[in-house]
Amino acid sequence: MASLLQPDRVLYLVHGEKKIRSPLSTLYFCRYCSELRSLECVSHEVDSHYCPSCLENMPSAEAKLKKNRCANCFDCPCCMHTLSTRATNIPAPLPDDPSKTTMKKAYYLACGFCRWTSRDVGMADKSVASGGWQEPDNPHTQRINKLIEYYQQLAQREKLERDRKKLARRRPYMPLAFSQHTIHVVEKYGLGTRLQRQRPGAPITSLAGLSLKEGEDQKEINIEPAQALDEVEPLPEDCYTRPINLPEVTSLRQRLLQPDFQPAGASQLHPKHKHLLIKRSLRCRKCEHNLSKPEFNPTSIKFKIQLVAVSYIPEVRIMSIPNLRFQKECQVLLTLTNPVENITHVTLVGCEEGDPEDINSTAKVMVPTKELVLAGKDAAADYDELAEPQDFQDDPDVVAFRKSNKIGFFIKVVPQREEDGDVTVSFKIRHDFRNLAAPIRPSEEGDAPTEAIWLTHHVELSLGPIIA
């Protein structure tokens, strides 16, 4: 029955640019807008870069310089696991006395998973444990850098021309850098435009590193156009007859992870530096408040700000489902958990006919009409044996059981469609929410500092197939 606890069985509807249905565990709750947010209606920002194996933090500027790769760690070119440095003792002649040999340590890289070693591609053992390994140079680096410079200059020139045209029509007080169209032109060869999309009015500071500074002499960069060759290197004669040595052929994935060389033979696979990972922070697009902000330290998994939906919205879970029969009324047991510390009142309302949000349900549902009361979450409840159980008058037809901040209740389901597929029901859940984030205004009449607002969410449950 653990399959009933699977998160994608109970979906909450998020109202955003797109209507998204997803489990509560993947949603965030903006307590300033008092609305659910999903990953698609928040803006993602890069917080910090770190290496996943040595857990070293790296400032963003340095990460960009090193092309988002760690300086110390390597990836196995064969299986993409992290390489570890191993040492062997080799006899080496003493520098003073060539006839005597002493044991010196030699280091090589080895993969623990596929047993690849740096000796397989002919890389010599190094005498230092770290820092001795170099990636092979790309022969086309110079040409690529020159092309990048040329195109950046071209983009800058196009931007100036457009601004000049706009300036003729625009009023003089509008600043030059803020025109919407020119952003796209400069960003054509720089970072993506997505960064700019969410902040229509914010100043663009990221461009400063890419484009030439105003007033600098614009050097004319000329590039030679690429030459088309008539003669192509012919294929080797035994191309069709030579038997393939299968272990030597690299797989597509191994090849494409090294886009500089794309070696066809496994003996040319050199290890690459490990890619950095990022910690991201999420921001609500409407009110610009942070919804999730991780700690700066890569070893810490905690959050500075963590406004996840499960800690504010009561969660519905399926507890048990009887055999569902076509057009027969079945009773399903659900649980409702209260995540906050004060008492929550929950009302369930079925969806009406023609509800635009109700597109997936294949069964009629009768929800309890009475208001359900959930006790607050008491962190010390396990340890406090003398606590008196709070007395809620529960209707035994509606409430099956009650346990600290959780209740089990029944709903009646009548499947309407006899086809294959899951029986889906949906209803609306309305609960009171006390906003502790709002600033406490000085109460003039001695009112309670936090007022409850009522929130409504649309919930969809997937109950499984009909058993005839």
């Binding site: 064969c78 299986c79 998973f113 596929c114 047993r115 690849w116 070693t117 397989d120 272990p247 496994a266």
Partner: protein, 191 residues
């Protein structure tokens, strides 16, 4: 060979360290400097097993010379096949090996599963949880790894675990009773 069927004594050479908690059934010959951990199982059902020297057989490893699936144990005229295991092999924790011929310097990693029809040559490494039950001879220095049993060839064979073997031969008798070897007396029991 018919007289070996049914012989229950294991033939453990002097210098081998075989713990009493290991299960050895049937006609099994174990070479010197081999270490068999407790809870390892070596079962010679359908024929004798000959294990060379310098092997390391870890806990819960199962080396079994079993009958082929479609043959009942009582049918007459079935030739018992000998399972040969070479020197310096490592059978890691929980692996199952039914391969009839294993060469030298192989490493069979944890929870790997070797079928009856595989023949390992030398220097092969069968990765953790890899099931190899094809009917083939694995070429030398092959590494089988990954959930899809990808293969590659390495340039050098895995090193023999001499350090580990020496260490175990010193430490295991401190904590376990040993099975009797053929020549010489069994290692003294310490309290």
């Amino acid at each position: 060979i018919a007289e070996h069927v049914g012989k229950a004594a294991a033939n453990i050479a002097a210098g081998a360290v075989v713990c009493v908690e290991s299960e050895i059934r049937g006609d099994v010959t174990i070479g010197p400097r081999t270490v068999v951990h407790p809870k390892a199982r070596i079962i010679a059902e359908a024929g004798p097993i000959i294990i060379g020297e310098g092997n390391l057989i870890e806990e819960q490893a199962l080396i079994i010379n079993s009958y082929p699936e479609n043959i009942m144990p009582d049918t007459e005229g079935v030739e018992p096949k000998t399972m040969t295991i070479g020197i310096n092999n490592v059978f890691e924790v929980g692996c199952v090996s039914q391969a009839l011929k294993i060469g030298d310097n192989n490493v069979i990693e944890s929870k790997a599963d070797l079928g009856k029809n595989v023949i390992l040559t030398s220097g092969c490494i069968v990765g953790a949880c890899c099931q190899v039950n094809t009917c083939e001879v694995i070429p030398e220095n092959t590494v089988i790894y990954g959930s899809n049993c990808m293969r590659r060839v390495q340039t050098e064979r895995p090193q023999p675990q001499t350090l580990q073997l020496d260490f175990l031969m010193k430490i295991l008798p401190n904590y376990h009773h040993m099975k009797k070897t053929v020549k010489g007396t069994s290692t003294p029991v310490r309290n």
